[in-house]
């Protein structure tokens, strides 16, 4: 089933890109919720089998076009089988172009499947992919949606050393629409556990121009996790562009994780 889904994503993605490259898109005004919370760079590790993650999140981006983001967006992840996670983001998006009133409404729905195909060992990182599709459910004319279906095909790697963890990789966005260009995203992140309840990290990322009139983007974010309990967390990040159009951005979310208890030594065996 998952193989078929993967095939559909691939085939329709390239087909959609080929036939809609000339259509109008307002990508730069479209809030995108896709990320590995709280960072834009993602990791290859799916949610544990039969476990759930629920995010209630808010994003804010201030760039040359104005202010945009989500308020809030809901994200749900589920470990459907070992090493595979199903993913959905339903955003309420806002967009305030410079000198114009704020527009608010449902944004583009995000669906994805994360699949880890190499496990981490002492010497080898875990490797996985996380194809994502953005459905054009947001109102394009109000700047709340892209107006076209977008696809992201990435490869992610992750490695841990005790309290340190680093992950990153990159992928190719199929970004149809007049004035739009398919583009690459590359990012890397590092983090450290400081206490049982606090982890801090930072990322740096590079994006090739997603439109014909935009430039390369190099940005960074600093963020972390606060664990109130094993199930309830606050996650956050904030940053800016080193080279690009974004003056500032932040992400904040409440994360609820739950699933069946697993005794020491049983998990994964």
């Amino acid at each position: 089933m998952l193989y078929n889904l993967w095939k559909i994503v691939l085939i329709r993605g390239w087909f959609g890109a080929a036939i809609s490259i000339i259509l109008l898109s307002l990508f730069m005004l479209t809030p995108s919720a896709s990320a590995g919370p709280p960072f834009i760079t993602d990791d290859p590790e799916p949610v544990d089998y039969k476990h759930w993650e629920f995010y209630l999140a808010h994003t804010y981006t201030n760039d040359k076009n104005g202010i945009s983001g989500t308020a809030p967006h809901l994200e749900l992840n589920y470990g459907v089988i070992p090493n595979v996670q199903l993913h959905i983001i339903a955003p309420l998006a806002y967009n305030k172009p410079k000198g114009e009133p704020t527009l608010y409404g449902f944004g583009d729905l995000e669906l994805g499947v994360k699949y880890r195909f190499v496990q981490e060992t002492d010497t080898c990182p875990m490797i996985g992919t996380f194809p994502i599709i953005h459905l054009p459910t947001g109102n394009e004319s109000r700047g709340l949606g892209n107006g076209e279906t977008q696809f992201f095909l990435p490869i992610w790697l992750q490695k841990s050393w005790g309290p340190w963890q680093t992950y990153g990789g990159g992928g190719y966005w199929i970004n149809p629409g007049t004035g739009n260009k398919n583009y690459w995203f590359l990012g890397w992140q590092g983090q450290r556990d400081l206490t049982k309840w606090l982890t801090l990290g930072a990322e740096i990322f590079y994006v090739t121009p997603p439109t014909t009139d935009s430039s390369h983007q190099v940005g960074y974010n600093i963020g972390g996790f606060i664990n109130f309990t094993e199930e309830h967390h606050l996650i956050f990040s904030a940053g800016s562009d080193i080279h690009g159009d974004t003056h500032s951005r932040y992400y904040i979310a409440y994360l609820w994780t739950w699933g069946p208890p697993v005794r020491a030594g049983q998990n994964g065996k």
């Binding site: 005790g162 094993e230 005794r263 020491a264 998990n267 994964g268």
Partner: protein, 198 residues
């Protein structure tokens, strides 16, 4: 002003949910019991048989903790662990604390289906002690004071049979729901003579 309103709306909703769910795990937490008696059990030493009118109960537990260098901003060595990791047992009001020395243990992080809860480098502490006590029903509280964890169970011991009571730790969830000893013990499963009783 208006441009900030949308952002504040999201933050407010997030904060409301935080306060709604904050402390949901706190319910049912067992308070550390007081040891007021000394006539409930005696610790077995040198493999002597149980005295008349008592049965033997072997207490087993094994827990893995992060090394003292793991967390940058926490105690290098928690005060409770300086002379051994404490395992606390209270039976019908009689209390005993055993402090066990640990061994550095490095195990694979993950297998084919994901992370192992005890994968990685840490300190392994093993408890294996035997006590003698009267057969019949008993109320037992087992604790790991260094992890601020206590659990309780009622058992009934049959006469003239050695019994084994095992505490298996369940570690707290880490990123993406994977349980890991790096986050400490959050609950336990309890087995009496290999049968799960809690």
């Amino acid at each position: 002003m208006q441009k900030r309103t949308e952002g504040l709306k999201g933050i407010c909703i997030t904060i409301i949910f935080l306060f709604t769910f904050w402390g949901c795990d706190g319910g049912g937490k067992i308070l550390k019991p007081q040891g007021t008696r000394s006539d409930v059990f005696t610790e077995a030493k040198n493999s002597i048989p149980p005295p008349q009118g008592t049965v033997s109960l072997e207490i087993r537990a094994s827990v893995k903790t992060p090394t003292s260098e793991h967390y940058l901003l926490e105690f290098k060595t928690p005060p409770q662990v300086k002379d051994g990791y404490p395992f606390e047992l209270n039976i019908d009001g009689q209390e005993i604390i055993w402090k066990e020395k640990g061994k550095l243990e490095k195990t694979p992080i993950s297998g084919e289906q994901g992370r192992f809860p005890e994968g990685g480098e840490g300190i392994r502490y093993v408890l294996d002690r035997t006590i003698f006590l009267a057969p019949g029903p008993h109320h037992i509280v087992f604790g790991l004071p260094a992890d601020d964890f206590y659990t309780e169970v009622k058992i009934s011991l049959r006469e003239e049979e050695p019994h084994v009571l095992e505490f298996h730790p369940v570690y707290a969830m880490g990123r993406h729901g994977y349980r890991t000893f790096f986050h400490g013990v959050t609950r336990s499963e309890i087995f009496l003579d290999k049968t799960r009783i809690k």
